[in-house]
Amino acid sequence: MLTHTAEDYLERIYMLSLRLERVKSSDIAKEFGIRTPSVISALKLLKEKGFVHYRKHGAVTLSEKGMERALDVYDRHKTTYRFLRFVLGVPDGIASADACGMEHSVSPETADAMKDFFSFIRLKKDAGVDIQGEFQKFRKEKPTVGKRARYSDTDSGTRRLSVVKDGIRCVILKLDGDREVKRRLLDMGVIPGETVEIRNRGPLGFPIEILIQGYVLTLRRDEAESVIVREA
């Protein structure tokens, strides 16, 4: 079994061979930012395993077996890089760095699926459906994740239950405030996603009666303030 560094060597030698006539051990050392003797000892090991042809002070070339392996790694690198960069929209530097790590661990099946997904998006785009664009738009706004509504103070339409008028149906988004009160509210069925409605008020406006889970619950102003809702 090859270690990652071995795969790295093969890939790097392959890439260097594309632009240099003769790849020397010192070129590899420069690429990796390590000392030449380290490269030489690694090359000896690769030679033993039959991946490279190498003679002292001579050029380094890949054997047939080594070439096959290098192309394979390089292919997985390209696939993951393209997936990260053009499907998920990860910035170039990060995509490249992540791809260097992932190329060694990603299975052929996953790599295949990534490739297919990439082609699928291209196909859709040609047919006028911009999945990648939609996804980028979604990420920018990030309105909801799954079923859960995300609360932010700046959202329009979200308010605290203490300022909602009677008889208006609201959806609970979030609870905050005192933990003891929150625990109690959760236990009694005041949970995000439920609808709630103010049914009635006490003599001085508070406490209020709310309708939740099909029964009536009372809340003081403070407690109503800890329930964040959006009008349904």
Partner: protein, 654 residues
């Protein structure tokens, strides 16, 4: 002799009919006490059936099971630590979701459960049908339908109970999203020997269980909470509650059939509440209800109390002779028993009515209407009833604090009640205003009542600030659907409370009467409560202490000591010490001035509630608080009496 014995806990939401069911199961084989270390009532009943001995333990009615409220902590500790053989979970069928949520929590504790779908008649009336066969198929355990208030379905429940040894544990439980489950798996290893380790792991994650001083565990939990929050975009407590409710919804979808919409379901209760909790009508209706309560407890109850008083009076008149022994029987024994039993009519009527109000659904409405006002005073809406009753008699008033859920509220209310001017203090006021304030009688008496209220509020607010800094108990309170209260259940509950009073407070009251009798009768041969008796000597010794308050006669001191037994006794004691009722007015006129009369009335209002009140305070909230109550009232009473006298003198009113 029973072959096997099982401990069965009875759990459920408040208002689920848990008490009715418990009473049905145990009948009169009931033991009432307190949970260890706390003053929350614990009911136990032991019963033998089919050669099996069952011990039923009524655990506090709760909506959840966390360590954040006392009732829930007691319930949780009993279920997870005492580990009963099975738990009967009483569910209000008309309120399936919220009730089933608690049932889910108890299932997660890894206990055997016997779910009882109670009040099925109410549910049917609202168009809700529960399919027990489907529920049984999902969970692999029997579900029993009952109408506990009418005894229906109890025999079916007994059948399940008789087979409790072979009962299986429920097979269907909520599954949480991956990061939660991962955390639970890791945390469960921290509680390896516990059958309820899954519940505990979830509890520490959602903050329902407080992590004991274990920094390492706390860090682990915090890390998991952070991971869950990051991955699932929500706080763990909300997520877990949400998942549990989703679990409940999925069960309800399969097993609960609704023929009408939710809107129609609450229609009748809604219609009643259009008046009862109406913004404008709610207040007046509440005041009327309170007046009615007060009227029934005292105006109707007091004649019965008078009969008991007179009965004991007649009884002691049958005791012949004037020796020490006869006096012991008359002033000691008979008076002592009488002092206990005289409260029985008020207490019984009060708890009967409270049970009726609670059962019908009005009690929480009353708290709702009164809350804004009471909250401003630093108390809970439910404190209103005990405080109001204080005007009649402090004893049933203090006992009524058990309608409050929160211990802090119970303590504060019980400590405030003694300053509500009870009817026993009125004879003292009347005696003095009749002599010194003939023109302003009602004004003076009224101002004493106001002073009492003022001090009650002041004491409650101050003690809250000192002892319960972060103690605003929430008003997150269910307004249950109205239903016709059961007279039988109410009488049962009133009977239990009354017996509890006689047994637990009675001995203390009786003992105090005996002690005072001994002090007043010894040494041998002295006239009862005379200057030569021990009590007279104590009176003479402490009399100078009252000099700054303007009344330093030994008779006044002795009267105050006797007032410890019951405040109306103050008047009678003056009668005895000043040579009979006839000479009383002139004697008091000679010993007191208008100003010292005023300071004496203030003293009578505030110093020490009577022994019976102390006895019930001790019973309801504990000895330490009772001692504090005595300390505060003596200090305040004496201090204010001195202030009244000295300020009056400085203003030239002496």
């Amino acid at each position: 002799m029973a072959d096997k014995s099982f401990v069965i806990a009875v759990a459920g939401n408040p208002n689920s009919g848990k008490t009715s069911l418990f009473n049905r199961l145990t009948g009169s084989n009931l033991k009432v006490g307190n949970w260890p270390g706390v003053t929350v009532e614990k009911k136990e009943g032991e019963i033998c059936r089919a050669d099996i001995s069952f011990t039923f333990v009524d655990i506090p009615g709760t909506y959840g099971l966390s360590a954040r409220s006392e009732d829930e902590r007691i319930a949780m500790d009993f279920l997870t630590k005492a580990r009963p053989d099975a738990v009967i979970v009483v569910l209000d069928s008309a309120n399936f979701n919220r009730n089933f949520y608690l049932f889910t929590l108890i299932m997660e504790m890894g206990l055997k459960v016997i779910p009882v779908l109670n009040m099925t008649d109410m549910a049917e009336k609202r168009g809700i049908t529960l399919h027990t066969d489907r529920l049984a198929a999902i969970f692999g355990i029997p579900f029993v339908k009952t109408i506990a208030s009418r005894g229906k379905g109890i025999s079916a429940l007994w059948k399940v109970l008789e087979g409790v040894g072979e009962l299986r544990k429920p097979v269907h439980l909520p599954v949480y999203p991956e990061p939660v489950e991962t955390a639970v798996q890791v945390l469960m290893e921290r509680f390896p020997k516990e059958a309820s380790s899954r519940f505990r792991a979830l509890g520490v994650l959602d903050g329902g269980i407080v992590i004991p001083g274990n920094d390492e565990l706390r860090k682990t939990v915090a890390r998991f909470q952070g991971e869950i929050e990051e991955e699932l975009q929500g706080e763990p407590d909300e997520l877990i509650a949400e998942k549990r409710y989703e679990f409940v919804y999925s069960v309800a979808k399969e097993c609960v059939e609704r023929r009408m919409s939710t809107e129609q379901k609450v229609a009748l209760t809604d219609r009643i509440d259009r008046f009862v909790t109406n913004r404008y009508l709610g207040g007046p209706l509440f005041l009327f209800a309170m007046w009615l309560l007060f009227f029934l407890v005292f105006t109707v109850g007091n004649p019965f109390a008078d009969w008991i008083n007179r009965g004991f009076g007649v009884l002691s008149s049958f005791v012949p002779g004037s020796g020490l022994f006869a006096s012991f029987i008359r002033e000691g024994l008979i008076a002592g028993v009488g002092a206990v039993l005289v409260f029985v009519p008020n207490i019984f009527i009060l708890f009967f009515l409270i049970a009726i109000m609670e059962d019908s659904g009005y009690l929480s409405r009353a708290a709702f209407v009164a809350d804004r006002f009471m909250h401003a005073l630093g108390l809970h809406g439910k404190s209103f009833i005990p405080m109001l009753l204080g005007f009649g008699c402090n004893i049933p008033a203090v006992m009524a604090v058990r309608t409050l859920e929160n211990e802090k509220d119970r303590v504060l209310t019980a400590l405030a009640i003694p300053y509500m001017s009870c009817s026993a203090r009125l004879p003292v006021y009347l005696l003095f205003v009749g002599i010194f304030f003939t023109r302003y009688q009602s004004t003076v008496v009224f101002s004493l009542y106001l002073l009492g209220i003022f001090i009650a509020v002041l004491v409650a607010r101050t003690l809250r600030r000192i002892f319960f800094t972060k103690a605003v108990s929430p008003l997150v309170m269910e307004l249950p659907a109205y239903h016709v209260p059961s007279v039988k259940t109410a009488a049962h509950s009133a009977g239990i409370r009354t017996l509890f009073f006689i047994r637990k407070a009675g001995t203390f009251i009786f003992g105090s009467v005996m002690v005072i009798w001994v002090l007043a009768s010894l040494p041998l041969g002295v006239p009862y409560a005379s200057a030569q008796s021990i009590i007279g000597r104590i009176g003479s010794a402490v009399a100078p202490v009252f000099h700054p308050a303007g009344f330093d006669s030994w008779q006044a001191a002795v009267a105050l000591i006797f007032g410890f037994l019951a405040k109306e006794v103050v008047v009678g004691t003056f009668g005895v010490l000043y040579g009979g009722q006839a000479a009383l007015s002139s004697a008091i006129g000679a010993h007191f001035s208008a100003l010292s009369a005023m300071s004496f009335m203030v003293m009578t209002l505030i110093y020490i509630p009577c022994v019976a009140t102390i006895a019930v305070i001790r019973r309801e909230i504990g000895t330490k608080w009772a001692a504090l109550s005595v300390g505060i009232s003596v200090t305040l009473g004496y201090g204010l009496a001195v202030v009244v006298f000295q300020v009056g003198k400085a203003l030239g009113m002496g």
